[in-house]
Amino acid sequence: MSLIARHFEAAGLPTLILGSAIDILEAGRPPRATFVNYPLGFESGRFRDTTDQLAVVRQALTRFDGMSSPGIETLPFEWLEGWDMINERERGKLDQRSPRTTEPQYQNDADRAAAEDGAIS
């Protein structure tokens, strides 16, 4: 994502990454980023928690007006229960990737049917 951010910023469009992988952000040196220490998959807030989602996005967006030089700012959110949930699920798994294929990978069969019917071009 940092490659994309750097491209648009260089083209004159201010960008802000809302990310949860601090080392990947640091390596990519994006123009402007916020880090929320939640597991991957929850970058914009906790599961089924609209209050938390709104708070995370609201705080992140303040950095558009609030940052005057490139950097990564940590947002003050914690979620131990979320980490417990993910750590339990992923324990001992070394490679989480799905098979690399050039066939579209639909979330469910109804999606495949709708796409193949051309519901949205």
Partner: protein
């Protein structure tokens, strides 16, 4: 109660792949400082766009594939949350997002903040891609031009980027 220390995904992935005898994954590492553009007006007067790399698509659209898919999808900003889907090579990170898309694709929060007046306006369309592309050249030469052309039509002042 505190959160654990931030996870070091690059080291974790390298160590795991080494145990499996796989080639190391090459994360992007910048060797120059980024450009930095100050907003020309406050958020309250700005039109905001969004790009997600979570492989977001809308029910009815063609899903992403998992081998270096550099295509993009336009996601209308008023898409019902119940029509949002995800296809990404790291779908293990999307178990909850497939039940509550707003954990990685914050359409509801953005709509709320526009309603409140915190954000001036929202792009007609957000955009997505499938972030698990193994070739940085293909990101630069295919994906980014696709996104550039699409974003150029949205007349936005600010761009929010939400990776998976």
């Amino acid at each position: 109660m505190t959160s654990p220390s931030p996870t070091h995904y690059i080291r974790q992935t390298r160590d795991n792949y080494e145990k499996l005898g796989f080639e190391p994954y090459q994360w992007f590492a910048a060797d120059t400082p980024p450009a930095f553009e100050l907003p020309t007006k406050p958020l309250t007067e700005s039109r905001l766009g969004m790009i997600s790399t979570a492989g977001t698509y809308v029910h009815g659209q063609v899903a992403y594939y998992y081998k270096d898919d550099t295509s993009i999808r336009a996601i209308p900003c008023d898409t019902p949350v119940t029509d949002l889907r995800f296809s990404h090579i790291m779908e293990n990170y999307l178990v909850e997002a497939r039940q509550d898309p707003c954990t990685v694709f914050p359409v509801e929060a953005l709509a709320h903040l526009k309603e409140e007046g915190v954000i001036g306006d929202l792009a007609a369309n957000y955009y997505s891609c499938m972030g698990g592309i193994y070739s940085q050249n293909r990101v630069k030469n295919e994906l980014i031009p696709n996104l550039q052309s699409a974003i150029a039509t949205e007349e936005i002042d600010l761009l929010l980027l939400v990776p998976l």
